[in-house]
């Protein structure tokens, strides 16, 4: 079995998540080759074949050109699987490759199982086992689901390029909003989720954070709704945190949120839904109405 792994590179750097692709291929027991649109000054610690396209010529985001590079490498390598991370780069590019080759794509794989690949569904509450019908398939793997594997060594470089300019013009990056709270350093974080019901209830969660001597965090829907500033957002598109204690109040536990907090030392979730996916990572799940339980807890601690 053979895999073509599509590495990731952003703002002039090879992304560490690239090594998760190698962890996946290792679990699959597959041979590997890699393709990267990057630069020779940022090569992965990997001894296999690396198809390297120059980022100066192909841009960090140019899906038409990147797709062409991948299709060329597929011709040379004849892989069983073309593997991406399920990231803003991978979920954008993978379906283009799958459609061009008219082959199956299995999205956001969480594990390799008997008879196929397991993926999350229904907001991560349930799982599906999916099997490609095509001989070859495109796969995207969930960020953090497979171990980082850094084999070491120097790649056997094959420099490649793509013709044309593509239909999209990549203008540049806009930096993340400035953080007035550095949650990365907080020892205790108490986060509010959609389950708190309304903006007026945010102070109740903030009061618990204060009683515990911690900082206020929030899930994405709460930030999108304008209840809490973006600088407090925990998750893939916010801050990644690992405090000694993380208290999730009314947070169901979307994958993007879990990825940002599951490395916390101790996790308490307060949720009325016993089946909420936050329960998968919680050390303690308190099944209760968050707006009844939190004030009672705060009162007892104060």
């Amino acid at each position: 079995m053979k895999t073509l792994l599509i590495g990731e590179y952003r703002e002039g750097k090879l992304l560490d998540s690239t090594y998760e692709l190698l962890g996946f291929a290792s679990q699959l027991g597959a041979e590997t080759a890699m393709l990267l649109v990057g630069s020779e000054s940022q090569l992965p610690a990997y001894g296999g074949t690396l198809y390297l396209a120059d980022v100066a010529a192909c841009a960090e985001y140019n899906p038409d050109l990147h797709k062409q590079l991948i299709l060329d490498a597929v011709q040379k390598e004849n892989p069983d699987y073309i593997v991406f991370l399920h990231s803003s780069y991978g979920w954008d590019l993978a379906p283009r490759v799958a459609a061009s080759l008219r082959i199956a794509q299995v999205s956001e794989i969480t594990s390799i199982v008997e008879g196929g690949f397991e993926v999350g569904c229904c907001n991560a509450k349930m799982r599906r086992t999916v099997k490609p019908n095509s001989v070859r398939a495109v796969l995207t793997i969930q960020a953090g689901a497979f171990p980082v594997l850094q084999p070491g060594g120097a790649p056997q470089l094959q420099k490649v390029s793509a013709a044309g300019s593509g239909t999209l013009e990549f203008v540049g990056y806009e930096p993340a909003e400035k953080k007035d709270v550095d949650l990365g350093k907080a020892e205790i974080i108490v986060s509010a989720g959609r389950g708190i019901g309304k903006k007026d209830n945010v102070p109740v969660i903030a009061a618990l954070a204060k009683a515990l001597g911690g900082e206020l965090g929030a899930s994405r829907p709460v930030v999108d709704a304008g209840w809490v500033e973006h600088s407090h957002q925990v998750g893939t598109t916010g801050q990644t945190v690992s405090p000694k204690l993380y208290v999730a109040c009314g947070i169901s536990g979307a994958i993007q949120h879990l990825a940002g907090m599951k490395k916390s030392d101790f996790i308490v979730a307060i949720n009325k839904d016993k089946d909420a996916p936050i329960g998968e990572v919680a050390d303690v799940l308190v099944v209760a109405d968050v707006m009844q339980f939190v004030p009672a807890l705060t009162a007892k601690l104060s």
Binding site: A94, P95, Q105, E108, V130, S134, V171, P175, S252
Partner: protein
Amino acid sequence: MKLLVCIKQVPDLESRFKPNAEGVWYNETDLAWRMNEYDEYAVEQAVQLREKLGEGTELTVLSIGPDRVVEAVKKALAMGADNAVHIQDPAAAGKDPWQIASIIAAYAKDKGFDIIFTGMQSQDRGSAQVGVTVAEQLGFSCTTTIVGFECDGGNITAKRELEGGIKSVVKMKTPALVTCQLGLNVPRYPTLPNIMKAKKKEITAIPVADLLKDEALATTASFHPPAKKGGGIVLEGDTGVLVDQLIAILKDKTAVLR
């Protein structure tokens, strides 16, 4: 300009999901249905563009599924779409993303749409494939996960959301497809007068067999709950008791309570 927005009706995600008889998707009984959240942002963005462009612009909303999906279609019409297409398919849930995309592309290919809006993914299936695959099949420019959108004539400037809160800015020309991320805008609630107006808007029904020629490229072998990792303690009962139990656990297992 001709605009299309594609929407899916999904169950309330707070529901408890049980496998269906075949064990490959959820059992649909006792579920409450709503418009896929990502698609609400797609509809809102399409309606905002429709309003900006005014006369001469037509916004069509499309949904695939059994008769129940007409409820979601009506909401999009009440939000401001001009007309609708219901592709009738009682077995839509059993189709893979390639087939769903093929149905949409088969409908759209000779209609002259300038911009197609979709959500970045569905909340129930979550493959994040359909929008991009439609664009590939139609030969449209495409970008995904947008949190910013501007359209000036045939030129689109979109902001994509990346990991860690950074955004990338992308320009492209129509015809184009964008997949919309949460937070792109603030989806409106349909007002009562607009709900009444929407009742007069045309919903064209097309049987799926007229549009779908392709076989599935992937098969769902099973639908099941995640394996319980174990180790986590579940506390249930009276609030006062729960508070004491939790404080005792925190004192025992963490060093943060003094």
